[in-house]
Subunit: 431 residues, 2 copies
């Protein structure tokens, strides 16, 4: 690992730069699939499932038998682990419920804000080598707490036309009835337009490869909302002499194994710590089955030495990491000054994998610097807030003239008139 | 006004359909401006200001003198009205502050969620005939409460290269220092990329014409967030015999005067009320200076008669109106069953214009049916939430095995190892 010593501030931007996405060649494929699904519905989906997933399916839904079979095929230890994670995620996301906000801004002028669930949401769960049942927990649990009426889950079938039992079982445990064996662009298109077999939704959640990412972006052009824009996963660790180099190395590697485009950054005030972590990375890497992926990600990792904690904190905020581990003596200083981060892991015994699976926080987080302006998925992601107001005769008498003055100045005389007719009626009534 | 009597459900979709946006021809212009601003910065902005606004400006910023002059040129009655509105908006948006959410999901596993301001936000305020100082209040007040560090405001100059005094004065009263005389696509591009003269921001708020709308959409491709997608303004009124026909007519007309593409819908269980409102609309229209706009919007308004309150409520939720007035006997029934709406106005003395200007609620609201999945602008629009977790040695001992089991099943062995190294160290330490 090459250590970068005290980079000057004007080098930060290039040092912290993320790889640029190139999506132009993907967009054409995504458009083609969207147009076909929009025009031909399920028939198009069958075609793309054959083309992209290499399997012929007549029906995308699951039978009751498939669900029963799945639950029998999940090892009890795994079921128990998933149950533990679900319980923690439920606790943390239930605590995020918020009360109605109500204020009388003036006598007779009541304003309030209430949240309501988004009625129809779609969850996309990628397929591939790893069955991401953990992502189902992260999306289905808050959707259920929010009270979403209709939760649709799409996940690509394997070559036998099946879903992994842990996917089916976890979804069923979370109360999802609408599970479909449809993946990739065609799944996003199906949830965007709706087909005879798959319902249209109002908001789509979940990770995916570049095709899915571009498809979700295109879905927003058809009035569907998405959880957030996506990019490769990231971890930044701020650590000093109080950190355990073996733990830090293990966390960096857990990030790196996500793939060669994973971003891994270690920031420290201690060159000693940076060197020790570097050695530990080499040592631990040998035992990893996905070492090839990790090696490629570690190759463009950045180990940065900074002169003091203040500089470290500024650098972290400039990067706005998705995952941020703090293992520093002055922990509270680091915590207090966080301005931009997705999820923060504090202290030596808090690996990112805890939040990935089971501590209770959500693992669907803003990447690509989006932590500057986006929240990770949370209970509010499945709700929208509605405002209300009720004004009494007394209230409009007091507030009305201000509205009239402002409306007149903005040249909106029918707005003014809507107050005037009420004030006139009240005047007539009081005579 | 043509009254539609008890339309069958299978006609609702076509009856409630909004006009389709056609943006293809606009996109080319927007792309051209974005590319030029990105490459040439302020020089490009000067060129487009000449081209689109017909005025030559060397400097886009305001001088202290311009700010002083503006405050002297706003009538005291208007200043007072704006002050009243600001105070109400401040009260309602301050009440939306939320506490840190903290939970121990298991012994030794602490999770919490905190909100932080988005550091840099941009507010776009359209120019044209009406100076929308009310929109400044709606955006700048919550930005200040949230604690956004840098608030940038752009608004197009008039032919003399000036902004309306009420725009300048309201912005200054709200504490905004960065006010720029730049409008349209080039303003959105400037805040997206940043130029020598105008800072880049992380999220852009505010209304605008079709060009601004498409420009904001394009900005999201360059990692900037926006408040919400936009469409023409809308009002749906549910009213029965308990409503005052003159008030209802005045509210419909206040919506209609926004422009010919404004959406106006009246739903009632009473044909009598529908007829009376129709007559009142004709009567009041005569006195409106913007009658031409209102007439065109009213021409495609829909007066719908429904058999009962239950059907009315279902129809409202199917439409998901931006503004929704309830003037019905069974007010609480209507309130209880709202699932999709932007802002709701309750009772005979609550015109939409109250919320447009001064009651305290926000007037930046989801149109185009987006109330199904988007909130209107509120305090949280200027913040993002960050999650945290801290696990003790005891906590990871208890939770660790579940993480290991799940990570192994997902094939992520470096994730498993990041727990393993900690559990091993604890075991070694306790021996």
């Amino acid at each position: 690992m090459k250590i970068i010593e005290c980079p000057p501030r004007d080098r930060w931007e290039s040092l912290l730069r993320r790889p640029v996405k190139t999506v132009a060649d993907i967009e054409e494929t995504v458009l083609r699939v969207f147009n076909a699904v929009r025009a031909e519905g399920d028939q198009a989906i069958r075609g793309f499932t054959r083309e992209f997933d290499g399997v012929t399916l007549d029906d995308f839904g699951l039978t009751d038998e498939e669900i029963r079979e799945a639950s029998a095929n999940v090892a009890p230890a795994l079921r128990q682990a998933i149950g533990q994670a679900r319980s923690n995620i439920e606790k943390f996301h239930s605590a995020q419920r918020s009360d109605k906000v109500q204020v009388e801004t003036m006598p007779g002028v009541s304003c309030w804000q209430e949240k309501r669930p988004i009625e129809k949401v779609g969850l996309y769960i990628p397929g591939g080598s790893a069955p991401l049942f953990s992502t189902i927990l992260m999306l289905a649990v808050p959707a259920a707490i929010a009270g979403c009426r209709e939760v649709v889950l799409c996940s690509p079938p394997d070559k036998e036309g099946k879903l992994h039992p842990a996917i089916i079982d976890t979804a069923a445990q979370c109360g999802i009835r609408n599970i479909y064996k449809v993946g990739g662009i065609q799944a996003i298109a199906a949830m965007t337009f709706g087909t005879a077999g798959i319902p249209k939704v109002y908001k789509i959640f979940g990770p995916g490869n570049q095709y899915v990412t571009v498809a979700k972006q295109l879905a927003t052009a058809y009035d569907v909302a998405i959880d957030m824009p996506a990019g490769p996963s990231e971890l930044l660790i701020a650590a000093d002499e109080s950190a355990n180099p073996a733990f830090v190395a293990a966390d960096l590697l857990s990030q790196a194994e996500h793939g060669p485009d994973s971003q891994v950054i270690l920031v420290s005030t201690s060159t000693g710590l940076l060197n020790k972590v570097s050695e530990e990375v080499q040592r631990q890497m040998r035992y990893l089955p996905r070492a090839d992926l990790a090696t490629r990600a570690m190759a463009h990792s950045r180990f940065i030495c900074v002169p003091d904690d203040e500089t470290a904190v500024e650098l972290v905020n400039a990067y706005a990491p998705e995952h941020y581990i703090i293992c520093c003596e002055r922990e509270s200083y680091y915590l207090e000054h966080i301005r931009n981060a997705g999820s923060v892991f504090v202290g030596n015994f808090t690996p990112v994998s805890a939040g990935d699976y089971a501590s209770g926080t959500n693992h669907t987080l803003p990447t690509n610097g989006y932590a500057r302006q986006y929240s990770g998925v949370n209970l509010d992601s499945f709700m929208k807030s509605i405002t209300f107001q009720k004004i009494t005769a007394h209230g409009i008498r007091d507030l009305g003239p201000a509205i009239e003055t402002m409306a007149e100045e903005e040249g909106l005389l029918a707005h003014k008139n809507s107050v005037r007719v009420r004030l006139d009626a009240l005047k007539a009534g009081s005579n």
